[in-house]
């Protein structure tokens, strides 16, 4: 292999994760992520959104990126090194450079410790500070970076802070480790709309001011559009469309992306939803059965078409819709038949 000057920070090559299945148990196979590839370059710090609904595979993707789930097929590289072959020192550096922020900040706290504890713990674990004074200076700096007043937050217990403050402390904690990548998994789904803006704004600042790459994992396309540069739309384990966020959102090519964007409740009473034409297969009986009304193969290699610069769409499956999903002639709002294993044999596959 040719030696490159600087390998990308993170690279995924044809990564697939299959749960269950195995010998004599092919019925319960779930393809959580199928043949996903992408690259995070260090010299172009961007905000990349992985968007999808429940069951789309975005959580599995996050866990694989963090190294806590190993892919079934495919390779993952951190600074050119295979995830599975990191030595002790590289592993420690990986843990410093790739930092997660989770959904519910309250669950990340021990209610009996003051919030100072969550900030001191990583400094201690990674031996980042030389002295107490050094440690305190780092804590104050990182709190200020996310727009918090140290004297209003330190010395308090988690329940004495607002949800927005708690979530921003988690961002501050991640910052202590001077990460290159922050994985933010639904960081604002538990907070009120008015606080959402503040948290997302502080995440955006990290990218702009500190050059940190942010991978924003969400189901909310509106905030994704507002803060990110690039987006990957996931549907049942597949990346169905990806590229520049404005291009994907304003000119969606895949039928699933079109339906998804069309279903976002726009805050405009004069622009209401049309009747929905097809069920998406998201409402099914039980779990584990894979059906796909978009005609995407459950497994196999993916090929993408570049419809315009930096805008790719999954080839295959059903014909691309040139009409937007919501503007079809009114039809059956929901096809209950699609949920019936008897009339829909694909459910039994």
């Amino acid at each position: 292999m040719e030696q490159q000057d600087s390998p990308p920070l993170l690279e995924l090559k044809h990564v697939t994760k299959i749960y269950g299945g195995g010998f004599l148990n092919s019925e319960n196979r779930t393809v959580a992520v199928n043949d996903a590839s992408f690259i995070i370059q260090e010299d172009q710090p961007r905000i990349v959104t992985i968007a999808g609904e429940s069951g789309s595979g975005k959580t599995t993707m996050t866990r694989m990126l963090l190294g806590s789930v190993t892919p079934t097929h495919g390779e993952m590289y951190y600074r050119g090194k295979d995830y599975r072959k990191l030595n002790r020192r590289e592993r420690r550096q990986f843990q410093l450079e790739v930092q997660p922020i989770f959904q519910d900040p309250f669950e990340s706290y021990n209610p009996f410790y003051k919030v100072d504890h969550v900030l001191h713990a990583p400094i201690k674990n990674f031996k980042l500070a030389e002295s107490k004074a050094d440690r305190d200076r780092m804590v104050v700096e990182s709190l200020q970076m996310v727009g918090l007043q140290p004297d209003e937050t330190l010395g308090r217990f988690p329940h004495q802070l607002s949800g927005g403050q708690r979530q921003r402390i988690m961002v501050a904690r991640a910052l202590l480790l001077k990460p290159r990548v922050i994985l933010a998994d639904e960081p604002v789904s538990m907070v009120d709309a008015s606080l959402r803006a503040t948290i997302l704004d502080s995440i955006q600042n990290l990218n702009r001011d500190l050059g940190i790459t942010v991978i924003y994992i969400t189901h909310d396309l509106t905030t994704a559009f507002q803060i990110s540069d690039d987006i990957l739309i996931m549907y049942r384990g597949n990346v169905v469309e990806y590229g520049d966020v404005a291009k994907v959102i304003h000119n969606p090519q895949h039928a699933y992306t079109q339906l998804l964007i069309d279903s976002i409740p726009q805050p405009d009473p004069d622009n209401r939803w049309g009747e929905i034409v097809r069920a998406t297969g998201t409402e099914m009986v039980g779990t584990g059965r894979q059906t796909d009304i978009f005609g995407i193969d459950a497994e196999g290699e993916r090929s993408y078409e570049e419809v315009e610069p930096n805008h790719f769409v999954l080839r295959g499956g059903i014909e691309m819709d040139d009409r937007r999903a919501g503007e079809h002639t009114p039809a059956e709002p929901l096809q209950p038949d699609s949920m019936n294993p008897v009339s829909n044999p694909s459910l039994l596959r």
Binding site: A193, S194, A197, Q266, I276
Partner: protein, 354 residues
Amino acid sequence: MTTATPESESPAAPEQNDDVALQVEGFKVYYETPRGTVRAVDDVSFSLKQGERFALVGESGSGKSTLAMGLMRLTRPPGHIAGGRAVLKGQDLISLSDEEMRQVRLRDMALVPQGAMNSLNPVMRVGQQISDGIIDHLPEDEPKPNKAEMRDRVVALLDRVGLQPMVARLFPHELSGGMKQRVAMAIAISLSPSVIIADEPTSALDVIVQRQIMQTLGRLQEGLNASVLLVGHDMGLVAQFADTVGVMYAGKLVEVAPVRTMFKNPLHAYPRLLIESIPTLDEKKRLVGIPGMQPSLLNLPPGDVFAPRSPLKFEPEDALVEPKLVEVEPGHWVQLSRASVEDFDKYAHLVDYG
């Protein structure tokens, strides 16, 4: 309506209107705590017309869910209904006995709960849960359906919410979130109530499923000509669904208006900021929230409680005046305060603040 409400100073006072399904006047739900009284819902008045979709919105802690639960008389201690009336079909729900209220539920007024996953019985088949509701709340003068009639009824209800007959034999854990919410809707409409209260019915659902559920709820409402009180915080959902919007802040209604008026020309600063802060898919702009926090509802100071967050310029004494909810044009009510309403002077003649 038999109960007359003369000289009531409540803003939405009825004019003996036959098309009003639910008349709420001066409704109060308080929580008694060792540190004082929490006025979760304080003197709220509005009317829900027959066939109307009324959305109650506000931040968490604004009292919207407490109000909805209070109207169903499902407030739990230490909360209690501290005053007011809620008149449905000529009877004040607040004065009913517990047994009389139980009869009203489901038959006249039904609830589609928040997170149907937790409201269905996990060890009972869906069909059984639907028929139990029907049997429990059926009027005495109506004959109890036999087994075959009941089965037909359950199947018909499932069909109306877009579910197959086979769902009747399933247990809740075999259903997806959207299907559970559909079952909750089937139960809610089982006795054709005139008022349906839907408390954040889609809060845990994916966006496409949310759309399907809201469209189903809309069809059911039209089919029954029922009134829906939708409680939620998602302004987008409200714009898609409601005819009328009421915005709550710190236990009070600050503005009630037809949906277009609310989104195009809100008068109170709070709904205005709430609507301005919604991110859209049209253009990228810096995300802005509403500065400040909702006040603690414990021992609230008198006056305009939104004033500390209001972006308007005003004199400190303006914030001390207790603002009144006033009808500024037909169907458009605003809590008039110099501190929070930019066009206050235009409407100053409607109030007497001295």
